[in-house]
Amino acid sequence: MHIPDGYLSPIVSIGLGAATVPAWGIASQKVKAILNNRTIPLLAIFAALSFTIMMFNIPVPGGTTAHGVGGTLIAIVLGPWAAVIAVSVALVIQALFFGDGGVLAIFANCLNMGVLLPFVGYAVYRLLAGRAPLLSSRRAVAAGVAAYVGITVSALAVGIELGIQPLLFSDASGRPLYSPYDLNAAIPAMLLAHAFGASIVEGLITYLGVAYLQKRHPAYLTSLRGVYAPGVTDDGAASSRPYWQVLAATTLAAVAVLFAVGLVLGGGNPGRLFGADWSQVNWADVGTMLLVTAVIAVVIVPLAYLALPRRLKRIGAAFALVADIAPLGLIAPGFAYGEGGSKDVQAAFGYIPQGLQHLSGIFSAPLSGYTIPLPFFSGANASLWHAAVGYQATGIVGILLCGGVILAIARLLRGGGTVPDLPEDADAERHPAPGDAAEGIGA
């Protein structure tokens, strides 16, 4: 999420300073007023902590890793203004010393991660935590959700900053001068990548971090609280809810939200949820399709689990399941399902983003429309479950293709060995490689 130099025009990146610099000024005033001279070592050390937390790789399901920012965690413990300074200082050091993020872009980066993130995170935390006792599990969950929202909003801000570049700064021939993606591309790219990846990690880490503090060092959550956020209820015993209750409540809430959104989109008519005409659905067909889908799932998922190598077992089985249940969307009538082509988008939004029009020419895949071009699957009077099977087959082929391509690229990159090495003199300083002694041990 660190924007390097060259992505933003200097007018934007320096102009954002108009928001960042006053925030820094107010932050240092506030923090000084609350914590006095004690502030300086406290802030310096928490900035160092924030830097160290940004270095931590966290294991993510599926075998990859991600790293967190920790801004919300610091905001919860020290208050949002102190978090502004701690994260900003860490970002400045990253930019000036480690070349992570641009120097001119420092205002933009500090605004996104150093100002927006702690404030949004802290506001959501206060909202969700309400007046719950300080050591309740509700506060830990609220912290996790708050961190998720905070970092996602910060990613959205990055998407907007990058997305306005081609609109504002292109020359006469339409050549983009800075980041070339407009809002239609930059915002979804940033939002999706974070909402389903880094944000989850950040939320999880913040949740676990607050839970750890509640259990082991409750004093840190209580001692400063009265200073910067008076009026919040104090202490209280730790209480926790059984896991199934949390899960059930979340599921219920998700269904309720979906229903509400569907009602809004359907204009308040329960028969037209999500704007689709549900009376057109042939429910007998749907029943057959569900049955076929269930049978295929029962066969495919265990098969994937057994057939795949151990590393890929879980993730592979999960992908197989997703491919299998994907065609359930075919039930919805009147609206093309999935990432429809430009025609569907045009129908839905009334215009085609120009870029998509060119792109669709490039990527019109052989299995276009996500089904197999045989009469059995896509004929005019093929029944619903035929279409569903075609859908599942193309889904699995697609997943295999993507996996193959990614694997091939990974092999190529690894084989290429294009990693810059240290010159001789610095090699002597190299610390003993920590992993050598214990190879193969550990996670």
Partner: protein
């Protein structure tokens, strides 16, 4: 961050751009999260040592006053981001290479370090844009229903974008590699950055290495003691416990540091020792570079 999305990529670039990679790989060739973190921490420490070493060798840029250097750097970075001409960017890069040569920065390291890092990812990020930007097509290569048709403005924008990112990153690397951190901080003072910030920055920098050292110890201790395969949930609980533990140390440490500062007479005021003097050569270099930057922006308007 995990994803291959637009600006998330530079985060991963740090791994590729770091001066070395610790050779800890698991037997099946994959690098685990623990090894990755250890490698990242080690690389940061190495990077710091390596940079400080080069900042102290005798070269043209090392001899310049840090304030002059910061001024030159800002002028050139501004010029690089204001110009719309690839030719000007190439010229600026040549200037950077010359300065690196004169300052005894290892040449192959400087070139590789820069171009295999962030600009490389900018290049990958920009590829789809070549096809998405509207405008006349360079050529239209059709394979069945597949059309491979890069647009002229898209390709031009991509070249400009990668060149700009590359030059900006080169300039930043050059500044950092020829200036000791303490001098960068002192010259920030002359840019009217409030003293509190400079003090916090310098203390942060010092404690970063303490924390990195501590974290390194914690991770190494785990790595050398755990023999079983552990679950993801256990690993995440452990990591967040480590973070909480570091946080509790941070609290204790800040109290101790404050007490120590009080004991040494700290009253909220910070006093810095007298600074270097700007010499004629420094003024000349600063003026020359500022003139080049202005010329690059104004004169570059007519160039492609």
């Amino acid at each position: 961050m995990t994803s291959p999305a637009v600006p998330a990529a530079p985060d991963q670039a740090r791994v590729a751009a770091s001066p070395s990679r610790s050779g800890d790989r698991r037997r099946d060739g994959r690098v685990g999260w623990l090894e990755k973190t250890l490698g990242g921490i080690t690389a940061s420490i190495e990077h710091a040592i390596f940079t400080e070493q080069h900042a102290r060798t005798d070269g043209w840029l090392q001899r310049r006053d840090p304030r002059a250097k910061l001024g030159m750097f800002l002028a050139l970075v501004l010029a690089a981001s204001l110009t719309a001409s690839v030719a000007v960017l190439v010229g600026l890069y040549a200037l950077t290479l010359g300065a690196a040569r004169a300052s005894r920065v290892p040449f192959s390291f400087f070139v590789k370090r820069v171009w295999l890092g962030i600009p490389f990812f900018a290049g990958i990020v920009v590829i789809p844009a070549i096809f998405m930007v509207p405008g006349p097509r360079l050529f239209d290569f059709a394979i069945g229903s597949l059309h491979l048709a890069p647009s002229a403005p898209g390709a031009g924008g991509a070249v400009l974008f990668v060149a700009r990112v590359g030059v900006s990153v080169s300039l930043a690397v050059l500044l950092v590699m020829t200036t000791p951190w303490a001098d960068i901080l002192k010259s920030l003072r002359s840019l009217r950055v409030p003293q509190v910030f400079v003090l916090v920055l310098s203390m942060t920098y010092r404690y970063i290495f303490l924390f990195l050292h501590t974290a390194n110890g914690i991770l190494l201790a785990r790595k050398s003691r755990v023999v079983a395969r552990t679950t993801g949930g256990e690993q995440r609980r452990w990591i967040s416990g480590t973070m909480g533990n570091l946080m509790s140390r941070a609290f204790k440490m800040s109290n101790d540091v404050y007490a120590a500062m009080l004991a040494r007479g700290f009253s909220g005021e910070m006093r810095a020792r007298a600074f270097h003097r700007m010499r004629t050569a420094d003024w000349a270099a600063l003026g020359g570079v500022a003139a080049i930057a202005a010329l690059a922006v104004l004169g570059g308007r007519t160039l492609p």
